[in-house]
Symmetry: C2
Subunit: 193 residues, 2 copies
Amino acid sequence: MNKSKEKILASAKELFHEYGFQQTSVDEILKKSGVTKSNFYYHFKSKEELGLIILERFIKQYEADVLMKTLGNKSLDPSERLIEFYKAVRMFHRDLHNPKGCPFGNMAIEMSGSNENFREKLSAFFNSWEKVIEECINEGMSTGDFRSDLHPGVVAQLILSHLEGAIMMVKTHRSIEPLSSGSETIMRLLKAA
Amino acid sequence: MNKSKEKILASAKELFHEYGFQQTSVDEILKKSGVTKSNFYYHFKSKEELGLIILERFIKQYEADVLMKTLGNKSLDPSERLIEFYKAVRMFHRDLHNPKGCPFGNMAIEMSGSNENFREKLSAFFNSWEKVIEECINEGMSTGDFRSDLHPGVVAQLILSHLEGAIMMVKTHRSIEPLSSGSETIMRLLKAA
DNA sequence: TTATTAGGACTAACTAGTCAGTACTAAACA
DNA sequence: TGTTTAGTACTGACTAGTTAGTCCTAATAA
């Protein structure tokens, strides 16, 4: 059931990631999903509603498929978790022919200035993402994996900021290098003396 | 002379920074600058041409007013230069009611996937920006300001990536904190042992 | 029966861009 | 001296296409 609705969600998710929310027209979503306009507006009351639903779903999927399986994997050492996390992110951005950037970072830059609904959701997600990193750093400081002369929260914030900036560079330079060498350097800087 | 042309450039620069290139219509630029459409197309052959000219000008202005006066200020110690640079960036983003983000980072995310002219200009500028940072880091490693067990180029790349990500966070969270605490942490991590 | 899908015509506002023609100035010419 | 020419800056009306979203009808599942 709801075959059309799922088709719309899947198509729009890809289009929003590649072209951005505002630069993707409803007609393009219709064309890609093969759904009629009336059916679209039967399922979603507006393009904005669709965008917010897709954002929510993407967040939940990312938390489950990436964050929990790497940073939240308690069977690994904290530093191994961080390495696995970076590996997963590199995998996510491995299409270097046309890197699409971070779906959350893209949307944050595109929408934060013009739509509070998007901004608030993204701000909350970045905070929660940071918390997951912080827990890993905190534990790594206890185990001696990481140097412990810094606040875990501040380090987590630095890691997330750097990650988003590095993905921006990957997209702009069409090269994975800023992400791979940047994450390596972060790991070295965090190593306990 | 060329009063209209300068008005267009000034208005469009602000609008592009606040709303992005694609989200700013020619009509909005016309309205803000008080210039007629036909006059606009007398001075610029297309909206894209205007965007590229504004990007070029913004780059030159930023290099002269920010980069050269801070990171390129040879009368300061390398670590002081970096501190001054961060201070200047924070000043640039001090409007926290509605932080507009980095004009270059915004444009990179918005345009890199769809327009090679913008992408190439931004990629080249990020490289040159990185070089300016690298020179400062390199000198700081010689003077003992910074730890010298890392490649200056890699550190410079990390600093720029982090900066762009931090500015993205400032825009999303509407708080300067990710930038101020992040830059402080970067300074501490770079300190020689 | 109720939820879903299809079709298509339609709107009002907005999009980038074009066009023929005007006003002004300053140099070149006769 | 007056006249022509040329370049610059500018104007209002216009086009063709796109935008998100509406409305109504009818067919097709569950």
